[in-house]
């Protein structure tokens, strides 16, 4: 048996009122890739924060044994000195600074007083090549894409002489191609003897890359699954550990829904980029959605899906929009602005719930009625009782877990935030719902509940457009699927005919124009 590089023994961490970690034991062998999986709030990130010294020694119970020695980390610098480097989920880069400046931020090269920029940039370039980037380290971070930024994060960790690399959701903002490249890079590092811990929600990736998978649930480590056999562990096997029960079906069946007439029809829809008006972001797209139908739009990130939905939703994205839109067979011209789209009974549920979906500093109550205040107001005055009643109604309907609707949205978990966001748009009583990545960054259990809500919407005769980059979700939830690539629709399929293979083949055939 290989040497144990890291052992976390009987770790208990309490926050006021909550036991976040309860007697956790966790072992990592040298040279392996060890995955930590679990639902949101299960305690994965807390465990890693204990390990990296963000929660300093003394604020938790238990021992960290690293490389045979008991360690007491008081801050990030202490753990980094021993080569434990964590790459956070949210990209931690300063966009206005160069790659080199970012990589050595807090870890500068050169004299005590003056930074040696020549050494900085030449060393930075060296590490960039190691992660397969050909950019100069003098490039500003804002000028490279998200996929490359994630690689810069890894180069930054390597520059700190990492021995144990912790990656927290490294692929959450990457498309499939970039994700795969990143995972292969990890496998390459493993060959060179690096030890890694990866936290991920994407179970297919975990099964692909990890040697061992430890499942965390309710602040405790439940089991460690060995994934070194010839066949990768099945996702169902991992999910069983995560939710504590067998999930026979990840996608609820939609029953008794009759698909009606065409409600939304868009023809020859073309949208130009607001900054570069000569560039077509959506190129001659035609689509329709029937009442009670769930239509999936699948495409890689940057295919133009969000831009398509937002341009339909009151031209909230893009310039020089051309094409026709019909609702219930009649051509409509929606004026620029979300308010006119809402009047036409269209709702767009954003992919970015924290950024432009919810007011995090306000309560569930306020957020729920924000898009449809008319319904709870007498003339100009908001009726507080109605406001409360509406929020309560949707809390019950969507099973939002919260002590009360007065709770601030910022304090909720991702899944519950998503429910509040859906509640807000459902209350606006739309006929057409454009859902953009409705399950991004939320755990398996909450996903299932969101799927149930989507089914209920379809059953109520709404037409639902679901944009997603998760292929299984698109296949499992849609009646019909449009496949989008580089601004164009490259295919349309019934869900019954679609498979992962033929959808990916369509995208590859359409060419990525590199």
């Amino acid at each position: 048996m290989a040497k144990i590089l890291l052992e976390m023994k009987n770790i208990t961490k309490t926050f006021p009122g909550v036991k976040a970690l309860d007697n956790v034991n966790f072992q990592v062998e040298e040279g392996e890739i060890h995955a930590l999986v679990g639902e949101n709030g299960a305690g994965k990130s807390t465990l890693m924060n204990v390990l990296s010294g963000i929660y300093p020694y003394g604020t938790y119970e238990g021992d960290i044994i690293y490389d045979g020695k008991v360690c007491q980390f008081h801050n990030i610098k202490d753990s980094e000195k021993l080569g434990i480097v964590i790459i956070h989920q949210e990209l931690a880069l300063v966009p206005e600074m160069t790659i080199g400046e970012n990589m050595y931020l807090g870890n500068e090269r050169g004299h005590k007083l003056a930074i040696d920029w020549n050494t900085t940039y030449s060393e930075a370039d060296k590490y960039l090549r190691m992660v397969g980037l050909s950019e100069s380290s003098k490039t500003q971070v804002k000028d490279i894409g998200t996929g490359k930024q994630q690689l810069v994060e890894i180069a930054k960790a390597l520059a700190k002489q990492a021995r144990l690399l912790i990656l927290d959701e490294p692929t959450s903002s990457l498309n499939e191609e970039d994700s795969r490249a990143l995972l292969d890079l990890m496998l390459g590092f493993k060959k060179q003897g690096m030890t890694m811990i990866i936290i991920s929600h994407k179970l297919n990736e975990v099964a692909y890359v990890a040697d061992k998978i430890t499942v965390v649930r309710d602040g405790a480590t439940i089991e460690t699954i060995d994934n070194r056999g010839p066949e990768p562990v099945s996702e169902e096997r991992i999910i069983k550990g995560m939710v504590g029960r067998e999930m026979t079906n990840r996608f609820p069946k939609r029953e008794g829904v009759t698909v009606g007439d065409i409600q939304l029809e868009v023809d020859n829809w073309t949208v130009h980029h607001p900054l570069y008006p000569e560039r077509k972001v959506v190129d001659n797209v035609s689509m329709y959605v029937r009442k009670g139908e769930v239509v999936g739009i699948y495409g890689l990130m940057g295919a133009g899906r969000t831009e398509l939905a937002m341009s339909i939703f009151g031209q909230t994205y893009g310039v020089n929009i051309s094409g026709t839109m019909k609702i219930d067979g009649k051509e409509v011209k929606i004026k620029k602005g979300a308010d006119d789209a809402i009047r036409h009974k269209i709702a767009y549920v954003t992919e970015d719930r924290k950024g432009n979906g919810l007011v995090l500093s306000q309560s569930i109550k306020v957020n729920t009625s924000l898009a449809h205040l008319d319904a709870i107001s007498n003339h100009m005055v908001i009726d507080g009782d109605k406001e409360y009643a509406v929020a309560e109604e949707y809390r019950e309907k969507l099973k939002t877990k919260t002590p009360s609707v007065e709770q601030l949205v910022g304090n909720l978990s991702g899944g519950n935030q998503q429910k509040v966001l859906l509640a807000k748009w459902m209350f606006a009583e739309p006929d057409i719902m454009l859902l953009d990545e409705p399950t991004r960054g939320i755990d398996v259990g909450a996903k299932y509940e969101i799927y149930c809500i989507i089914n209920d919407l379809a059953a109520a005769g709404k037409c639902v457009v679901m944009i997603s980059s998760e292929l299984p979700e698109v296949l499992g939830m849609s009646d019909r699927i449009y496949i989008m690539n580089e601004g164009k629709f490259v295919g349309e399929m019934k869900a019954s005919e679609a498979t992962q293979e033929n959808i990916m083949a369509l995208i590859l055939q359409s060419g990525r124009g590199d």
């Binding site: 964590i86 300063v94 966009p95 206005e96 970012n102 931020l105 003056a114 930074i115 920029w117």
Partner: protein, 339 residues
Amino acid sequence: MEATKNQSSFGKKLIKIITRNPIVFLLLIAAIVVGCMVDNFFSWGNLTNLLSNTAIRFLIALGVSGCLITKGTDLSAGRQVGFAAVIAGIMCQRGDYNGRLWKFLPEMNIGLVFIIVVAFGLVWGLINGFIVTKLHVPPFIATLGTQTIIYGISLVISDAQPIGGFQKIYTTLINGRIGDVKGFHLPYLLFVAAVFGIVFWFIYNKMRFGKYMYAIGGNDVAAEVSGVNTTRTLMRIYTTAGIMYAIAGYLLAAKSGGASASMGQGYELEAIAGCTIGGVSTTGGIGTVPGILIGVLVFELLKIILQFLGVNPYYNYVVQGLVIVLAVSLDIRKYIAKK
């Protein structure tokens, strides 16, 4: 062929520079127009005047720039300048001057006074930094509060009286100048400003402290998880700012030959305006020392243009205000475009 290509790329570059700094070029054109219309505008004396006015304001702008780059602000700058001027003025009064405020003091060495004044500036800066970083009061409100406090203390100390009767060495040293070519002099103040300009350039470009400042302004979470001690960095920024205001106040009292509690009023807004015109972004993380210098210079140029045009001085405020709003709205446009 090659030459024309170079030329066109030079032209493109020039257009880019102009569109990125429209205010600067508008005012330069205005200066040329005014210079052609009005006599004596292009005179050596006027240039000296412009440069020495710019020098002190540049020091204040350097001080406040760190606060702006980290998405903060410092409204107490002007009052801190006033406080430093009052303290420096009182302690630099002649021993045999009848109106001496603190008669118990012997005639002080002006170098010692300088050190005392700077020490006070450091204390004010520490207080601002403490309120911002430890009490987590937003910088706007924190410094709004301290500026009122500082003004009150200045009034108490000076008894709301103007302070004069400075030692000769104090005023002559600081108003000293070298050379006299057709009325053009190099005031010592210019050298002081140049030295600080170089020091700040070094800090902002070569030192960790400077990089940490840009990092906090660009993405404070990223700075934090990269191991940057943001509290300490912000503390240092506000303290450095306090020291710069103190130096400016010390120089300003001598330059004016007198001091009072109301001295420096509104300088914080001029400094912020100068920084913004010079490309310090209100959204944080951006700003350079040469830019700040140009911004302050251009703002002073604007004042002189208005003066030479014989505009009613009350209208000066209107025009200055418009320029500030214009500068920030153009700056914000760059930011919106990026989104």
